[in-house]
Symmetry: D3
Subunit: 247 residues, 6 copies
């Protein structure tokens, strides 16, 4: 797999086309939650918490299986201009619902729900500061929060083994003026021709691929190139997850 | 591009893995709309209408550009068991919003919004009968409705040339027990390991790729195989669009 | 009972003042529903389904009696100009609620709820195309869907005898420029001085009479005349129900 | 017109089948409103106000015509057992919407909207105490409030002549154990076989007839009998309106 | 405690700075409620009802304790200009919610919830006419309704002793052009620099103090002065409660 | 003013009855906002932002005056057990609305709205971590964010002088087992007999006093004692505001 490594002069701070923004994950940022992590990927900061609830949705009751679900929000002034507060407007936008469904599916893909037992792992991803890629950062951070909540369950003796089968992380890639770039920031994302959000497991399998042509449609070859870039980036994000969990 | 052509005995009516379900597109099904089409793909029937509105959303006013947007709905008893009526429940589900945003983006990808002029093409996709693949059928049918509405605008002298740059169509593909299948029906979709909704232009460029692992994550090779299947299927759907418009 | 039979030249296709529009009822139009019918009365097309649900509303639980209820909707582009989608707006209009309550009451009037047993017959009436008289067509079509759902229950052995006591059908009548007309289409309805929606049983008893002066109030004599017209029309609609059920 | 005048021993306080409950209309009950009336019909008390608003709904702007519209509500403990507060529940029931649409239509039937000028007469009917027949009492009381608001407009010089063409009043009639009764109270209404709400002008023309079979469908002869009863009752209500306005 | 008794010429009807408006409390105004009172304080009229419900909120079930809660509403034309109907708008304003929470807390402060037993006393305060001070009048009137509902429970034998520990009443005080005034009417309230709503028990203890600077912030000395005024006023309101209950 | 300074052994970390929790204010925490501050008061952390919007609410247009308003939210897992996400539930609770109205009023009390010019200062207070006193911390932090936004307006030349007339800050005080305590944490707040939220200007004038008896009503002497405690605490909070703005 070869991806262009020449730094593009246009990226801020001389970032290479195939480089992630600086990554920092702070475990335990929300002290009351069973698991939590503040993930900072450049100017994008998301607080992810995992809450253990002793119940499952109605349609799953009595089956002995657990559930993992997610909600997503953005502080009104996480962005360059203030956005409406969804609670005040009285409903979540289509975008918000799309993202929280994606986060939930992504986490469930690496959970053995039978092994989790009849309880819910409720993920909350709240964007404190937004500079592009908030849905991907949410997934990457949520995995850390979830893993810590699993540890908490094991430490209490509620679980004897982990229901987590693998890591899961996500990154966005896109074509900006025809050039494939890894981990788009907000200005890059706004101006790109196509972007793809890729969710992968630690072992390199795909969980979600969401590619969208913002302007011009893209070719199979371009998609392949972007997926290569994403795979390399996700490898680094998974390393980041491992490092912070080891720390 | 080689895709397996051996018929799988499990598919209803001996359909091959790389075969679409029977396709029928009826133009002008909704006589009051500026453009309309009933698309039937096997047991999935969607009524698509395109309405010309002499206004654009507030954020676009005065720019001389047009807009294309879509709404999606499903009759409560389009499905095997009755679903809630969203109007009665007082809100659209996350799934509905996700689909209608996808349909809108897909159509916009082939429209020259400048050439459309300051008006809105409002697409409505209403599922009369649902047997899997309703979002893809909606896109394929909506293109026909939109093309007819464009003809109506040209016939009235409101437009001198078509703002439509290409066809756009969509199909779902998935891995069922490890085997790649084209155009999943509802039982196949419910039981698949991974499914990918692919939206492509008539010239074979990708507009959207939405791949989701329902159970196990999938490999790059599997994704490639599925995209090959989808591309061939979309070619046939575009032929169907052309045939019905020629008819 | 004498009603004017001279054709009025103003009605489309030389329809007489006391003539219904052409009627067609297609049973089983929604194959997944326990009962269904597409009713077409001229340019008004309504898809009616009857779903059997194994529950009753909370206030009826444990009484051994059943319930019949209805919901109504209209596709956004069923009409000459596009109407708002109620699901997107987040609530049903007063008109929609009024109609669905009327359809439910009308059907209940011919059902023996004790004999139905503790289950709900959920009627859905969705207007595919609207040219006036949609609430009346909904009632007439819903009866066929309900009768087929009852047959389904009997065929399964869930019921030994039919809880349906009679036919029920409905028609609108109105005064247009002083002249009583049967089965108003949309232009007639928009321009009439008074219209009356009449719901009757097969044996000619009144279930609902909803008369409204749109412009000028009307006299008792005019009401009598309109009720005569309606009664004759409903007789023909009941014949249509019988014919399609016999077919 | 002959209606039974023999007192039925079952009616409270020996009321005859063709007798109204005691009627009292208090003008000016809401001192801040341009017009207002508290109508008391036996145990049913409704406060009706008419507010003059210097605007019309968007669809009527610039046409020089006015509008008359109504809203209806019931205090939670107007009834024998407490009902939900609609404002707390976040929506008006179907019943409430049906009633307020009826009140608005009934008032508009006696208004010359051109003569009213480009302003809105906003009627509010709030049930303080409910013992059956609240929608009919609302119409009868609203007419008095509206007439007083018209006087206020004339007194200010905003109107030179009254846009009110006639009186309008309403009453319910019903079949209770086969016997036609005028002006049903709540127990009678709950137990009746059929009830008809009749809205009539002062000159005896029909504005609305809303007949509903609660149990058994009713015959044309029964409807005729009920309409006779209603007409006599409405005559007395109109006398009450005149008397209180003269007072 | 010395408060200025010199009449201020500006107050309507030569009311003194430390005088309440004329007070009248009519018990049993809502005959169907277990307890009710119409409180009239000058031009402010509030109908308060207390309904006994045989249930408690979910979070209190099975604890053997009761609950007291309140809802508040205002008729659209209780005020000088018509306000929106909250039921029609689909939600209660922040102001309404604030008031009903205050009324509930105030009543609970004088109730022994254990002694009430596992039932709810549901208070409804509906403003029929508003001339300032509606939240305070609601509390004062609600106490009378609640006390009567308690008597009803005792008379039925459902309670052997009263769970009411004390009276509770409320009044507003404010600084108008620097002068402390008791029981502000609407024009005074609109123009005041600061106003304080004070809720006190019959024994003179504070239940709630809600002071707000509308314009300029106020000093501790001014607050003290206002609380003195309020205490005297509440003493008179409690006398009014006692008098009407004795009557 | 003398307040008890003996440390109470029960308070965590040997905090004295008249001591605030450790205070830290971080300016510029939200880099995209015109002004922002993260305020940490012990375990309570609130992110406050001030956004400058070039518009005012409809009712203020064209008057040349500005507006200051606030919204408040709490992350679902800011608390010991997870709370519902208000955006997902579709409405803000009464408590949330009460708080955001209080924050808005408190800030407006120190703003010269004429001098602000026709623009809105939109305050957002989002609780990242909650251990009692979030509404008071919101006010204290919001002042810093607002002051920085004012500086931003002055630096841009949009304002020549500051419309801020004074500091404003807030603290909660309460009676816990009869003892007056300053700055309650969550366990103290849950168990207190009475608590008072006090909002004061830098010059020691009262802006808001919201005292509530949770259990037993409190005496005037107790209120006085609590207000003394609050005044001293607010003095320290204002010092904190000054220190961080000087830093």
């Amino acid at each position: 797999m070869t991806v262009p490594s020449t730094p593009i002069t246009r990226r801020p701070e001389a970032r290479a086309a195939n480089s992630l923004r600086p990554l920092a994950i702070t475990r335990g940022y929300a002290p009351y939650a069973e698991g939590s992590a503040l993930i900072q990927l450049g100017g994008t900061h998301v607080l992810c918490t995992a809450s253990v609830l002793d119940k499952v949705p109605g349609f799953m009751k009595g089956q002995g299986r657990g559930w993992v679900t997610a909600e997503y929000g953005m502080l009104p002034r996480a962005t360059h201009t203030r956005g409406d507060r969804e609670a005040a407007r009285g409903k979540q936008s289509g975008r918000t619902q799309e993202i929280q469904r994606l986060v939930g599916r992504s986490l469930r893909a690496v959970f053995d729900l039978e092994a989790l037992g009849e309880r819910t792992l409720q993920i909350d991803c709240d964007v404190i500061q937004a500079d592009g890629g908030t849905r991907c950062a949410s997934i990457t951070g949520a995995w850390v929060a979830a893993a810590d909540a699993v540890d908490w369950l094991i430490a209490r003796g509620d679980l004897s083994a982990s229901p987590l089968r693998d890591h899961v992380a996500a990154v966005s890639v896109g074509l900006v003026q025809g050039q494939p770039l890894l981990d788009l920031d907000y200005p890059e994302d706004s101006g790109c021709d196509a972007d793809v959000n890729v969710v992968m497991t630690g072992s390199g399998h795909l969980v979600e691929v969401q590619g969208t042509a913002e302007g011009l449609a893209f070719s199979r070859a371009e998609l392949d190139h972007l997926l290569d870039l994403a795979q390399a980036g996700i490898g680094q994000l998974v390393e980041g997850q491992k490092a912070c969990r080891a720390g």
